[in-house]
């Protein structure tokens, strides 16, 4: 009998590198010892990708933290990731913001640029265009602070590269849904 095409498992289709999507997951967890290790261990143990990860306490009285994870994979694998996260006992809620659409995502970056003369002026001009702030300056360097969507930060870094990019520190993505409802 000829087998019609049926979906493979997320694991086997992940090998094919086809239809890879990038999703942002917002995960509300109990802020208890080891909770981040549980989440990160889930990703490494099951072979999922982490593109970026941010975590901080968001409600002190209730001991709640929000972990925002940007992950990549075929849609079936990303559905699995959500379910596997929900299965962890200290996880309250998992929202796939990409699947739901209509979310705001922002990242903060610090970008160190060194140079003199024309490069220095060019760096300042570009920073102004990107609404980056100077948070440290010396005779031969700047540290810029920049907030925005991931693509905007990528673009800024690429522009700084020929001008004298020294190093970058990025926070990873923070995200939430638009409108009055909680994420």
């Amino acid at each position: 009998m000829n087998a019609p095409a049926i979906p493979l498992s997320p694991y086997s289709s992940a090998l094919g590198k086809s239809n890879i999507e990038i999703h942002t997951l917002s995960v509300l967890v109990d802020n208890e010892p080891g909770v981040l290790a549980r989440v990160v261990g889930l990703f490494s143990g099951r072979g999922y990708n982490i593109e970026s990860l941010t975590v901080a306490e968001v409600a002190h009285a209730e001991h709640l933290s929000r972990i925002t994870i940007v992950t990549s994979g075929p849609p079936e694998a990303i559905e699995q990731i959500s379910h596997q996260l929900e299965r962890l006992v200290p996880v309250h809620k998992v929202t796939d913001l990409t699947l739901r659409g209509n979310a705001v995502e922002r990242e903060l970056a610090m970008v160190k640029v060194a140079g003199s003369g024309q490069n220095r002026e060019e760096a300042l001009r570009l920073a102004e265009a990107f609404r980056a702030r100077v948070i440290d300056a010396s005779i031969e360097s700047f540290v810029f602070e920049l907030t925005g969507a991931v693509g905007k930060i990528d673009q800024f870094i690429e522009l700084m590269r020929p001008i004298g990019l020294v190093e970058v520190s990025r926070t990873g993505v923070a995200a939430m849904s638009r409108g009055p409802e909680p994420t």
């Binding site: 009998m1 049926i6 498992s9 086997s12 299965r87 006992v89 200290p90």
Partner: protein, 584 residues
């Protein structure tokens, strides 16, 4: 009700309040206060194992045969690390286990103290959840919460790591009333709209098959009863995974036998050719599906599971129903009222199944000279059936032969390591089963290699007068390894021969147990009866054919309709291709 007491006393009190009557354990420096608290009471019977791995498997056997959580108590460091295999086993097979580990005092944590290890770090990946108790105030809540988490939703092992200073600290005990996890609430009832769609699909099916797993047994006796009712109502054929055997009786008229890698020809072909598959409490494991892209290509699939992450994990299904098996089965039965299956189509389907069944895929060529392992299991079954026997197994060929030739009529009667495939599971598990069912006949069907992995627990069986029977199919090989080496590696039997075996009869006697050896098929019945009638632990050295292969078999990398049947095995090497060799 609240009361001041030490952390160690709280542990014992909480176990009592949770209804624990049997505790498996091994003492050590970091749990001495708890052992001291145990000394002053007699409501909990402590079973001293000989190795902490044994404690974990015994707790599993106790839990799986009784439906109650299994509990173990071990010390820090090596005590904790020795439980890892058992905890992982319980995680893979969804067994409710609570494991209490001692830890060095909080001020020494992180200092590489004597017998210190990062227990919560190490067990994070092999438990459903774990806790490090940092202060006495948290202890009573965590103790009760651990029992809640272990038993609710998809069951699993939970570790509570308690530093020694917390065991000595004095605090207020809180009873188990109203303690549940603050957010963990698994869904039990299914969405009624999905039930309706499922029933519509069932009524329209022409070639249905029900495929059940360990989830039915975990859900409790009611789930097995409802499953039987559903099969009676619909007339659908039913197969099961290794973990689900007994939920539907092997003598039932809908029964196709076990499915999967060593399942029957009729079960696997029914899975392959069906137009509707109803998976209940099963997880589409690779031992079941074989080659995924050729798995039941023409069917629509309904999957019922309490764990949402099981659905669409390996196989994409048409209807995924999240809920507890018993709840969902009851909903399905209610929704089925007034419906009927497509009788003519079902009759044609059963006729087709009859043609597959006529191939007699479990047949083997018996011998008068040497005991065939299948024959040994058949005789064991015939001589022990109808008396509520509990079977445990180790892992390998003997395990599959037990699943094929021992017929289970009731749930909770087969305890075996399915997901993890742990050699050494069977004897300690049998000890746990015997403690839960003191009057019952408990038999560990073993291989000569597996049994040596936890043989020390024979001493435990002796100490507590637990008359477990160890039925060793001794073929002097790690039989399943040997079989795969024959199939895949040109018969190069690399390190799979069981050299330097002990004399099992003398071994039994050295422990104070009874030893029996049988090499002659004509004397087998008599020897098995002697084993059954001996009122103490028995090691039965059943010397069997060394070269027998476990068939039928779906070779790795093949589909359900490409099984090797008995008699085909001369050309085995040609059957498995190079990509199949990559698989396990």
């Amino acid at each position: 009700m609240t009361k001041l007491m030490s952390g160690a006393e709280m542990v014992v009190r909480a176990l009592q309040d949770q209804g624990v009557t049997t505790l498996f354990g091994y003492p050590g420096g970091a749990v001495l206060p708890i052992y001291d608290a145990l000394f002053h009471q007699d409501r909990i019977k402590h079973i001293l194992v000989r190795h902490e791995q044994g404690a974990a498997h015994a707790a599993e056997g106790y839990a799986r045969s009784s439906g109650k959580p299994g509990v173990l108590l071990v010390t820090s460091g090596p005590g904790a690390t020795n439980t890892i295999t058992g905890l992982t086993d319980a995680l893979m097979d969804s067994v409710p286990v609570v494991c209490i580990t001692g830890q060095v005092p909080t001020h020494l944590i992180g200092s590489d103290a004597f017998q210190e290890c990062d227990t919560v770090g190490i067990t994070r990946h092999c438990t459903k959840h774990n806790y490090l108790v940092r202060q006495i105030e948290d202890l009573p809540r965590i103790l009760h919460e651990a029992f809640y988490v272990a038993q609710h939703g998809r069951p699993g092992p939970v570790v509570i790591d308690i530093p020694k200073d917390v065991q000595f600290a004095i605090g207020t005990y809180i009873g188990p009333e109203n303690i549940e996890h603050k957010t963990y609430r698994p869904r039990l009832d299914a969405d009624p709209a999905l039930i309706k769609r499922a029933v519509d699909m069932m009524a329209a099916a022409k070639r249905p098959v029900v495929y059940t797993g360990g989830g039915i047994i975990n859900s409790g006796l009611e789930a097995s009863r409802l499953l039987r009712e559903l099969i009676e109502l619909t007339g659908f054929p039913i197969s099961s995974t290794l973990m689900g055997l007994g939920a539907y009786p092997a003598s039932g008229k809908g029964w196709l036998g076990m499915l999967g890698m060593h399942g029957t020809y009729e079960a696997n072909n029914a899975m392959h050719d069906c137009d509707l598959m109803i998976a209940i409490g099963a997880r589409f494991d690779d031992r079941i599906t074989g080659r995924l892209d050729a798995f039941s290509p023409g069917s629509r699939k309904i999957h019922i599971d309490i764990d949402p992450s099981s659905i669409n994990k390996n196989v994409k299904v048409d209807i995924g129903i999240v809920g507890d098996c018993a709840h969902v089965l009851r909903q399905l039965i209610e929704a089925w009222q007034g419906r009927t299956a497509d009788a003519p189509a079902l009759a044609r389907w059963w006729a087709q199944i009859g043609r597959w069944r006529a191939r007699k895929s479990l047949s083997f060529r018996n011998s008068k000279e040497v005991i065939k392992p299948q024959y040994a299991i058949q005789r064991l079954y015939e001589l022990t059936k109808g008396r509520g026997t509990y079977i445990t197994t180790e892992v390998g060929q003997h395990q599959m032969w037990a699943a094929q030739h021992y017929h289970f009529e009731e749930p909770n009667r087969l305890m075996t390591s399915g997901g993890l495939g742990t050699m050494g599971y069977g004897l300690p598990a049998a000890i746990g089963v015997q403690l839960a069912h003191p009057e019952s006949l408990v038999i560990d069907i073993a291989g000569e290699a597996s049994i040596l992995m936890c043989i020390q627990e024979l001493s435990t069986a002796m100490q507590y007068d637990l008359p477990v029977k160890i039925f060793v199919l001794n073929n002097e090989y790690m039989g399943m390894v040997r079989q795969w080496q024959e199939l895949l590696h040109d018969g190069r039997y690399s390190h799979s021969y069981s050299a330097a075996l002990p004399d099992f009869v003398k071994l039994a006697e050295a422990f104070g147990a009874h030893g029996i050896r049988c090499t002659d098929p004509s004397l087998l019945d008599e020897a098995i009866i002697e084993m059954i009638e001996t009122p103490k632990p028995v090691v039965f050295d059943c010397v069997v054919d060394q070269t027998e292969n476990c068939l039928p078999m779906i070779p790795s990398g093949k589909a359900h309709n490409e099984m090797i049947l008995p008699g085909d095995d001369e050309e085995l090497e040609a059957i498995i291709d190079s990509s199949g060799k990559m698989l396990v």
